[in-house]
């Protein structure tokens, strides 16, 4: 099974969800400054990669976890990938998660500022503020996603 976390940009909310899913970020402890800075670097470098599926890792149930930046075309991308899956007879289930609502507007602002080369220090501070603010809600949302995936697996078996 492939789990694809889709955000407006592929690396902000989508990566945060994927990091929780794979256990890179722990539920009750906000990551260290160094970790936040690394996440920020990923966003800075790959934030503009719209439409490119990025592999993040495999979870404990051997599901492959990906992230994808799909701007405002989530439903189109989802439908296209689902049908391509059937068309090429790929025996793999895909589960798309739309994280755009949960990640909020701030990643779009940070991404815009970074793309226009506006002071990186400000962007980093905004990013730290965003990650700390979103941490509990994304943690809970990822738990819900994992439970849903478990239920799906149970039903299949």
């Amino acid at each position: 099974m492939k789990v694809i976390y889709c955000g407006y940009r592929g690396t902000y909310g989508a990566f945060l969800f994927a990091a929780f899913h794979l256990g890179f970020y722990k539920e009750n402890s906000i990551p260290e400054k160094r970790q936040i800075e690394k996440h920020f670097e990923i966003c800075r470098l790959y934030g503009e990669q719209y439409g490119n599926l990025i592999y993040v890792g495999v979870d404990e149930e051997l599901r492959e976890v990906y992230i994808l930046g799909c701007k405002r075309y989530f439903s189109v991308v989802k439908k296209a990938q689902m049908h391509i899956n059937k068309m090429f007879h790929l025996d793999d289930t895909i589960y798309h998660v739309d994280v755009r609502k949960k990640e909020g507007i701030l990643p779009r602002i940070i991404g815009f500022l970074l793309a226009h080369r506006i002071n990186r220090v400000i962007c980093r501070k905004l990013f730290s503020y965003w990650i700390v603010r979103k941490y509990p809600c994304v943690s809970n949302a990822t738990k819900t996603v994992k439970e849903r995936l478990k239920t799906m697996d149970m039903k299949k078996r």
Binding site: G51, N52, L53, V76
Partner: protein, 157 residues
């Protein structure tokens, strides 16, 4: 091998190109209104179906011809499809995307909005046909170029 003609709504220009390609429509004259109305899937794609490739037929070179609506997100949707296929080990030359929004007549665009978005196909449908008939030679030229270069595997964004 699969060839996808894509446009905004997957209902008019892409269907026209696919029909010329499959010889449902003539390439030596401008077809009449009733000939457009007789094409399967012309002015039929629903908004909720955007992203879903629709099979139109098999051409004389053995390619499967599809039409797909991508809104204005081709720069996101096409890489999303290609990267997904890439992760599944399907090579690039097996699929080809051709943008069908060439020389789009403004009346076609207006007709498309009236028909598909406002849900008035009785008014919008004939407008799209009127506009497409005006720019029909461009569609014929595009399709002939596609047929000539089909083996090179280049994309027609």
């Amino acid at each position: 091998m699969k060839l996808f003609y894509h446009c905004y709504g997957g209902a008019h220009t892409s269907v026209t190109c696919a029909s010329i390609h499959l010889k449902y429509l003539p390439d030596d004259r401008i077809p009449e209104m009733y000939e457009f109305k007789a094409i399967p899937f012309y002015d039929k794609m629903e908004n909720k179906e955007l992203g879903k490739p629709v099979f139109m037929g098999k051409d004389d070179m053995g390619w499967d011809i599809y039409v797909v609506g991508m809104k204005d997100g081709k720069n996101v949707v096409i890489p999303a499809i290609k990267s997904y296929l890439n992760f599944n080990g399907i090579s690039r030359p097996e699929i080809l995307f051709v943008g069908a929004l060439v020389q789009l007549h403004p009346v076609t665009a207006m007709g498309g909005i009236i028909s598909r978005r406002l849900g008035l196909p009785g008014i919008g449908g004939p407008m799209t046909i009127w506009g497409i008939r005006r720019s029909y030679p461009h569609f014929v030229e595009l399709v002939s170029r596609v047929k000539k270069t089909i083996l090179t595997g280049n994309d027609f964004y």
